[in-house]
Symmetry: C2
Subunit: 273 residues, 2 copies
Amino acid sequence: MSPMMSTDQHLTEVLDSFSDSANPRLIDVLGSLVKHLHSFVIETGLTREEWMAGIQFLTAVGHMSDDNRQEFILLSDTLGVSMLVEMVNQCASDGATEPTVFGPFYVPGAPSREMGDSVAPEGSKGKKLTMSGVVRSSNGEPLRDAVLEVWQVTPDGLYAVQDPSIDPTSYRGTYRTGDDGTYEIVTTTPVDYQIPTDGPVGKMLQATGRPSWRPAHIHFMVSHPAHKTVITHVFDANSPYLGSDAVFGVRDSLIVDMSSGQASFDFVLDRDS
Amino acid sequence: MSPMMSTDQHLTEVLDSFSDSANPRLIDVLGSLVKHLHSFVIETGLTREEWMAGIQFLTAVGHMSDDNRQEFILLSDTLGVSMLVEMVNQCASDGATEPTVFGPFYVPGAPSREMGDSVAPEGSKGKKLTMSGVVRSSNGEPLRDAVLEVWQVTPDGLYAVQDPSIDPTSYRGTYRTGDDGTYEIVTTTPVDYQIPTDGPVGKMLQATGRPSWRPAHIHFMVSHPAHKTVITHVFDANSPYLGSDAVFGVRDSLIVDMSSGQASFDFVLDRDS
């Protein structure tokens, strides 16, 4: 009788099966995925029942997902994978503005706003916030005509795209810096909000005793020719959830005090390499 | 400005978030999963577009799955994970019968058959096969009244549960060994068959140039009091797909020549530890 196949031999057989792909990148990505999946099963001594629970969880995540709700992105967010993908892809230098998660609520083509215009509609019940600062290159030079795309939640904790009763152009806007690199946006102070908890990801958070809140923040995408675009948030220092962001997007360098209704934040962009 | 958060610090933050779970096993399993997912992203330098392609692939796998079709199990099978879970859970000793995948087509309560009875209905167009042998304990002792549950495809390459036109009790049966530990089953020679290729897993196999065939085999689940149950297949040595099983279930020790219509295979069960 031949000796039992070892788990190493089994892994080699699986990896070899991909070697006929015409796409070398696919071989690399699937190879790394398979190696890590197999190590996970061996390290944990995963039982059949646990494996089946995993199959059922992933199936429920798939069934929860449609054109309006993407539970797999939420799963990636809550396992810190989405944030890690940004870290790996944006790879800013020390001194440049630290990136964070993009999130699912960006809509291209936010309306142009003049410096000092508000993204909030007239009569918004939120507390007015003016945020200003300078956009600089990593060599210190202020950047004129840098583009700042801004989006955030309404005072009710929803993005305009989530609430059909809200003007879809509100709570977002495209600003430009002046000759001296300065910008000034006007909005309402952002509020903390919960990620959706009515699906399998919500059950996972509950089972692990994790909160489902994101600390109050404003999204920024800042770009300028010959520089790397930065996708980030600016967080309010007064949020109680800075230490427990459900999607692990908080960075100390991105926190400012918004309590006075005036806040200041400078952006620093790396040059294109 | 604080230094950028490193990917190691980010991982620690994610792992720490699970530490409030009341379930220590969940902390271990999710911890290992998160570590491996993060390493996968870093090692491959996964791009945003690749990450999104992965999200879309998993969503499609979820949408393909229902009560009758489980595309996540198929994905696990074709990445060698299902086989690995069996290796980790069955962990037979050297000399004992090597386990292989359970598969999705087992139905409990197969009809009892007398030694020498056929699982195939009268008039089956398949080629008759008699398989016999001894069930032994790992100390060599023949095991009387060992139970052999058997299931396999019809000559058309479908399991009875897949084809409503087939008697659901056919092509499966429960046999017992005699006083001397011998068994004898009668069936039709199993045929090669394809796993379902009309879903996202089929696209993955195509993109990687992998065949979608399983080599001809008969499923066995063999049990006896005070012994570990073994779940395995016996493969036909004449299949052209022994070297490219879509689910990586083939083991050299499980291959016998079925071409003469008579085949012999002995099962060896480990004692309960």
